[in-house]
């Protein structure tokens, strides 16, 4: 059974290394500051005992006040999982660091989030629309689209 | 040359045209029916009894289709290609004896003529591939050219064995000389010739130029209507010609007990065609480099070996052992054993084609 790691527990570990990376945390998830996403992800991937080697899923969600990107991470080695969240308050030009350099699996998923929710991932090697065509206006999975 | 010759030729031109066209229709029906059986389905069964008229229905349908020429195609090449692809198959049949004496022209270089004319079909296919101005057809054309050039070598070499034994290039003489079918005396030669011919008439597993899953339809991707039908018929005409040539060279042509010779000839042609169908319905396709590797690394050495072996045997028989009898039975068994052993051995030693290319 994959154990879902407690967000508070992990955020404590993150906090030791990166004191102001964690925005808030509860049992289910850890919410990070956008700018520290990459280094925390690096930490989560490399630290023994955590070793999140498998990026399961990236979902972009629009909460109207802010845009949220949810990372579902899994460690195949330890068989546990973690939900990582990052928020963007700037609706016009939301930007987050890309994690493609850590997990190749983020490649298409970040493009999808960019396409449908409109979050730009800086550092992505090939960030362009994927499901919709070039020149499409707007990002349909935002709640205020249509 | 006198008047009788003209009548003879006229009759046989009609006979061959009739034979080719009726065989094509029979083959199309057989192919669809047999492959249907291989694939656990019924095949055509709506038009006429057991679907025998399906080919005619298809023909009428194709005739009524619009003839489309791509805007940027080379019009003349595009137009001529199907004709160039179709005609050689008919020409080959001119030297195939249906029974003793029933032949359009018993050329004394018959088999050479078959090889020369048989390879002409590729020009038509190349013209189609080039003239269509389509990338898929261009790839297909290049593939065909490479394929035919490569396979022509082992095919010709495998015929040499037959020629060495019979001492003649004439198709009629070759049949007369076969006390037993040469498939027994020349098992290796038969296999090489059969596989090489399969490649030359572009049937599976060597059907790279059509390769539906890769290059869609290959050279005839831009053809429609009657031109497409001509390609389609041409493919079967080539199959008919190839089956007839194999029958003549290795299956002792019209010879056979009880039944009339012509019937024997037809039965054997049908059997060879059925072998093509069997391969088509069971084998996946080779990759292009594997195809080349198969010709150059597998078929060619074996064909060369076969030439040497046959040459040695013919010499040995004529000089030393002619008193043993009138048929070289020991060589028959020797050749069968050698063919089996070599094929097993060779397949262990060599790898089909290359791997990844660094780019």
């Amino acid at each position: 059974m994959t154990t879902a790691l407690s967000g508070q527990e992990v955020s404590r570990q993150i906090g030791e290394r990166f004191p102001d990376a964690v925005l808030q945390s509860d049992e289910a998830a850890v919410v990070l500051r956008g700018e520290s996403l990459l280094e925390v992800a690096q930490f989560l991937k490399a630290t023994p005992g955590l070793e999140f080697d498998y990026l399961t899923s990236i979902s972009g969600v629009d909460y109207l006040d802010y845009l949220e990107v949810v990372y579902h991470l899994t460690s195949m080695k330890n068989n546990h999982s973690l939900v990582l969240k990052v928020r963007c308050w700037d609706r016009d030009k939301p930007s987050l660091p890309s994690v493609v350099s850590l997990w190749r699996g983020a490649d298409l998923q970040e493009r999808e989030a960019y396409d449908l929710v409109g979050i730009a991932f800086s550092g992505h090697p090939n960030l362009k629309r994927i499901l919709l065509w070039e020149g499409f206006e707007g990002h349909p999975l935002r709640r205020d689209y249509l | 040359m006198n008047g009788w010759d003209w009548i003879h030729w006229l009759i046989f031109v009609v006979v061959i045209l009739g034979f080719a066209l009726s065989m094509i229709i029979v083959f199309i029906w057989t192919e669809r029916k047999v492959i249907g059986r291989f694939q656990l389905r019924r095949g055509p069964n709506r038009v006429g009894p057991m679907g025998v008229l399906q080919a005619f229905a298809d023909f009428i349908k194709v005739l009524t289709k619009e003839d489309i020429v791509p805007a940027k195609a080379d019009r003349w090449v595009h137009l001529l290609a199907p004709i160039v692809a179709f005609v050689p198959a008919l020409l080959v049949l001119a030297v195939v004896p249906f029974r003793d004496g029933s032949i359009l022209a018993d050329l004394n270089i018959g088999i050479l003529y078959v090889v020369a004319i048989g390879a002409l079909g590729v020009v038509g296919i190349f013209m189609a591939g080039w003239g269509s101005n389509n990338k898929y057809s261009l790839i297909s054309a290049m593939r065909t050219a490479a394929q035919v050039v490569s396979y022509e070598v082992p095919v010709v070499l495998s015929i040499v064995g037959v020629i060495l034994i019979t001492g003649s290039l004439s198709m009629v003489t070759i049949v007369h000389e076969q006390q037993v079918p040469f498939i027994l005396l020349q098992p290796l030669g038969f296999l090489i010739f059969f596989l090489g011919t399969t490649a030359e008439i572009n049937r599976s597993p060597f059907d790279l130029l059509e390769a539906e899953s890769e290059i869609v339809a290959g050279f005839h991707i831009e053809y429609s209507g009657m031109k497409f039908a001509l390609f389609y018929l041409g493919e079967y005409a080539h199959a008919v010609a190839a089956s007839a040539v194999i029958t003549t060279l290795f299956l002792s042509g019209w010879k056979g007990p009880v039944l009339p010779p012509v019937l024997w000839f037809l039965i054997k042609v049908g059997f060879v065609f059925w072998l093509f169908l069997w391969m088509r319905s069971t084998l996946p396709r080779l990759r292009v480099d594997q195809l080349m590797g198969f010709a150059w690394k597998f078929l060619l050495p074996l064909a060369l070996f076969n030439v040497f072996l046959t040459g040695a045997e013919v010499l040995l028989w004529e000089e030393k052992m002619a008193s043993w009898g009138n048929f070289p039975w020991p060589f028959l068994f020797l050749n069968l054993a050698l063919a089996g052993g070599l094929i097993v051995l060779w397949s262990k030693f060599f790898r089909l084609g290359g791997g990844r290319v660094e780019v």
Partner: protein, 368 residues
């Protein structure tokens, strides 16, 4: 001597191409027959299912999920209802769980049959293997039809159970299928596994290394063929999978052949699960008490299952209304395509088609 000028050719394979399994497009640059560059182009079948789901009640989304992976609709149903059940805290009756497992495994066999058949077809075996596979798939489709009246888009699972119980004639028919299926799998093995051309075309071609497979979030048979023993049914058992004995076949080389082999073996184990599930099938209700207009509490849930093509996940966010606030689908084949470029570069045109076939994508799921 004159230098001949050569240049690479760019070919658009797809969206209309016989072996792109729908409307996928590969923009391939060839140097002769060798692929020097490849760019996948998606989205020709994008219907905006995630957006459509936001305007439908939770139950109305189920038919939409059928249209994702239309070769294995039942597993899509399952993943979605699992996510919503997790969100709303609904317990499913045991009989329904067993039937869900039965449906999933039937779906897996049927989907793998198609995958293997079309892989062979892509490699140029003129429809014969496919027709053999279709023979068994047909029986499965008949069984599905018996259960829910549909052959492709089943719409059978509901939040809290199943739409209705199985008909009495279903179990005997399934039993018969389970009895004879191992024999047919052996038959496929005999027909295919040692075919020289098949081996030459698949062994060592399109190798996905273990590290890259994990790093690129591959899942399903593609991941397992690369030697990673990761199957959600084992790693994170859902439904009642923890009660069954079965193995997870893993490949060693990560090439096309291993992907083919893993699928064939998985079918065997699916048959074993089916056997056990039929034996253990309890009686009782198939539907929990669920309000007709479900309003799950505010929150979010992620549920994943092992669909025939990999880890199929549904991330559902609820704002306590009757429609999902956000539904995100983690489509396994979409993510498996991440490494497509790495697998085909340097190989020939024909290999690209075979690699693509071995990943076994369904465009309905890739483009959503």
């Amino acid at each position: 001597m004159m230098e001949l000028k050569t240049e690479p050719v760019v070919i658009n394979m797809g969206p209309q191409h016989p072996s792109t399994h729908g409307v996928f497009r590969m923009r391939v640059t060839f140097d002769g027959e060798v692929i020097v560059d490849m760019e996948p182009v998606f989205g020709y079948l994008h219907r905006g299912i995630e957006k459509l789901a936001e305007e439908r009640t939770y139950t109305q989304v189920i038919p939409l999920t059928d249209r994702l992976d239309y070769v294995a609709s039942m597993t899509n149903n399952h993943a979605y209802v699992l996510a919503v059940e997790r969100l709303a805290g609904i317990t499913v009756p045991e009989r329904a769980e067993y039937l869900r497992v039965i449906m999933d495994e039937m779906m897996r066999i049927s989907s793998h049959l198609l995958a293997v058949g079309f892989l062979l077809n892509d490699m140029g075996a003129f429809f014969t293997p496919l027709m053999y596979m279709f023979r068994e798939r047909e029986k499965l489709l008949d069984l599905f039809e018996m259960v829910c009246g549909q052959r492709l888009t089943y719409n059978y699972m509901r939040i809290g159970g199943l739409s209705h119980d199985i008909p009495p004639e279903f179990l005997p028919a399934l039993n018969r299928f389970v009895q004879e299926m191992p024999h047919f799998i052996d038959e496929y093995d005999q027909l295919l596994a040692e075919n020289e051309i098949l081996l030459a075309r698949t062994k060592g071609v399109g190798v996905l290394s273990r590290e890259l497979a994990i790093n690129a979030s591959a899942s399903g048979p593609v991941l397992r063929a690369s030697g990673v023993s990761w199957d959600i049914r084992k790693a994170d058992p859902y439904s009642v999978y923890d009660r069954f004995k079965f193995q997870v076949p893993i490949g060693t080389a990560g090439d096309i052949y291993d992907r083919y082999w893993v699928r064939i073996q998985e079918m065997r184990h699916s048959v074993r699960i089916l056997e056990q599930a039929i034996k253990g099938l309890p009686s009782g209700e198939v539907m929990a008490k669920v309000p007709p207009l479900l309003r799950p509490p505010q929150g979010e849930a992620y549920a994943h299952i092992e669909s025939p093509r990999g880890e199929l996940g549904f991330y559902v966010v609820s704002d306590n209304s009757i429609a999902p606030y956000r539904l995100h689908i983690r489509a396994p084949t979409f993510i498996n395509l991440t490494t497509l470029r790495d697998l085909v570069i340097g190989w020939k045109l024909a290999d690209a088609v075979a690699v693509f076939g071995s990943i076994d994508i369904v465009l309905g799921e890739v483009d959503r």
